[in-house]
């Protein structure tokens, strides 16, 4: 069974600085998708960025980028120029790309990010 591990329960960063959130996963599959979701105090689950495992190029979305290391099964999220609105819980998630089953998301326990002015 696949598992997702986020080893940093809490992180903090100064406004305008850069922070990296860690995520590792365990799978025997070769094709899958990885996601980072943001959950602010409003409780919404907001998709931040996604990565297809078959793509070697790291995904980027404005100030958010990932460092995807397939062999190491690592998928870290880098937030550049941190803003107060980035303060939230961040979840790493894995989803199989297989055609069978329901392609459920498997979530890590989350990292709470605080941004200080």
């Amino acid at each position: 069974a696949q598992t997702v591990t986020q080893s940093q329960p809490e992180m903090s960063v100064q406004e305008a600085e850069t922070v990296t959130l860690s995520c590792t996963y365990d799978t025997s599959e070769s094709d899958y998708y990885l996601f980072w979701y943001k959950q602010p105090p409003s409780r919404q689950m907001i998709l931040v960025i996604r990565q297809e495992a078959y793509k070697q190029q790291n995904a980027t979305e404005n100030r958010f980028s990932v460092n995807f290391q397939k062999a190491a099964k690592s998928f870290s999220l880098k937030i550049s120029d941190s803003q107060l609105g980035d303060a939230a819980m961040y979840f790493c998630a894995y989803r199989s790309a297989g055609s069978g089953g329901y392609n459920k998301l498997i979530f890590g326990a989350g990292t709470r990010l605080a941004v200080h002015p």
Binding site: R43, Q44, M45, R95, A97, S99, Y102, F107, A109
Partner: protein, 113 residues
């Protein structure tokens, strides 16, 4: 375009009561999911559906039931509420293609007292 809409947003139940959490989406998504999020944890899958009339159990289905009579609606039923079901419940949906992300509703905070 409302996306995924969940009602109610908050609810307090007494032990043994029943209720239905409503979820509807207007994106014509085939796949729909119900998750629960316990404090300080990630989301765990309760039930899912791959289309109208088709549902199946996820990781933590005990104490819940679902139905999917239309593409748009995917209600979650709690028959005999127990304190262990105190949680935040999220409904999500997505298109059928494997690379499509899930879109989440805003969640329902449910307390069983």
């Amino acid at each position: 375009n409302a996306g995924v809409t969940q009602t109610p947003k908050f609810r307090i139940l007494k032990i043994g009561q029943s209720m239905t959490l409503q979820c509807t989406q207007d994106m014509n998504h085939n796949y729909m999911y119900w998750y629960r999020q316990d404090p300080g944890m990630g989301l765990k899958l309760i039930y899912y559906s791959v289309g109208a009339g088709i549902t199946d159990k996820g990781e933590v289905p005990n104490g819940y039931n679902v139905s999917r009579s239309t593409t748009e609606d995917f209600p979650l039923r709690l028959e005999l509420a127990a304190p262990s079901q105190t949680s935040v419940y999220f409904c999500a949906s997505r298109l059928g293609q494997a690379n499509q992300p899930q879109h989440f509703g805003d969640g329902t905070r449910l307390s069983i007292l």
